[in-house]
């Protein structure tokens, strides 16, 4: 895997921009942007605005989310913030609080 991995014990405070896949297991505060996919794994804490092509969330996000393709909120995932994406799935067992804008 050639992408960026933010491990469990890692904390980044600031702005992350990438053109590759970003996998977050740790903590990110600030902003997180990728032109590729972003995965927020279980146990991750993201207090940031997230922008990606596609986003899957199994961890914790507090912030607004924008995806050009899709957002998948998986079981155990928790998202507090507005979602702006063409497609959105929310699995059973996921937590979500916020507005959804699907560009209808």
């Amino acid at each position: 895997m050639a992408g960026t991995l933010i491990g469990e014990e890692l904390t980044i405070e600031g702005e992350i921009t990438s053109e590759e896949e970003v996998v977050v297991q740790g903590t990110v505060r600030g902003s997180l942007t990728s032109t590729d996919a972003i995965q927020i794994l279980s146990g991750a804490v993201v207090e940031a605005d997230v922008s990606a092509a596609s986003l899957s969330v199994a961890g914790n996000i507090t912030g607004n989310v924008t995806a050009s393709d899709r957002v998948d909120l998986q079981a155990g995932g928790r998202l507090v913030g507005d979602v702006r994406s063409a497609r959105l799935t929310i699995a059973d067992g996921a937590s979500f609080k916020g507005n959804v804008d699907m560009d209808v």
Partner: protein, 238 residues
């Protein structure tokens, strides 16, 4: 175990990165990096900020100080503008350094040894610069501007020792211009003497004699000073 964190080649982080474990930097970080484990700066990676970790391996570009509790290693291709501080420091041939190199920790021998080691290491790194930069210039077109721009902050520590020299040193290096502070000091002492002499002497001598006759305890070495001090207090009290 925790998989090592990676900042990939196409990723830019602007901010501070901290945590436990190891971190591999292939991309770009503009901010400080503070880890408890190993930090690897891969070839072509750029770090603009201070890096502290247990172990630091550099093959890329760093603009900032490297501080390791264990070891700092500069591999061939590394470009570092900043100070190196670590228990051990390794600089491979082909690595470029501009900054202070210092080893710390508990040296097994006397203190002069690490000092000599750091002195020996830094000239080696500097010596490699002209040679490598001359031959490797075509292979490093991109890092060059990045290195040139930040030179001022790094250049600051270097010139410091030159203008800073203490007056004493200036005398040794035959610079008469710097003698200015000396006459100033003399003037001040003269003023103090002039001020003290007219006010203190009369009461000081009287009280000093009285004290000696009364107690006889104070040693003969410092009687004049003590007498004056006490005399002032007593005089003010009366």
């Amino acid at each position: 175990m925790n998989s090592p964190s990676t900042i990939s080649t196409a990723t830019i982080v602007r901010g501070n990165v901290s945590g436990d474990g190891s971190l591999e930097i292939l991309g770009r970080i503009e901010g400080s990096v503070s880890m408890t484990g190993q930090v690897i700066v891969a070839p072509n990676a750029v770090v603009k900020g201070n890096v502290s970790a247990t172990e630091i391996q550099v093959a890329g570009n760093v603009l900032g100080n490297l501080t390791a509790t264990d070891v700092v290693v500069l591999n061939p291709g590394a470009r570092v503008i900043g100070d190196l501080l670590g228990g051990r420091i390794g600089i491979a041939e082909g690595a470029l350094v501009r900054g202070l190199v210092r080893t710390e920790g508990e040296p097994p021998l006397a203190q002069p040894v690490p000092a000599a080691a750091s002195r020996g290491a830094s000239p080696a790194g500097k010596a490699a610069i002209p040679v490598k930069s001359a031959f490797a210039a075509p292979s490093m077109p991109r890092p060059a501007p990045a290195v040139i721009a930040p030179r001022p902050p790094v250049a600051v520590p270097a010139p410091k020792p030159v203008p800073v020299p203490v007056p004493v040193v200036a005398h040794a290096y035959e610079r008469p211009i710097v003698h200015d502070p000396v006459p100033d000091v003399e003037v001040e002492t003269e003023d103090e003497l002039e001020v003290d002499e007219p006010t203190n002497p009369p009461p000081a001598r009287e009280d000093a004699e009285q004290e000696h006759s009364g107690h006889a305890a104070p040693p003969m070495v410092v009687p004049a000073i003590r007498g004056q001090v006490k005399a002032k207090k007593k005089h003010k009290g009366r």
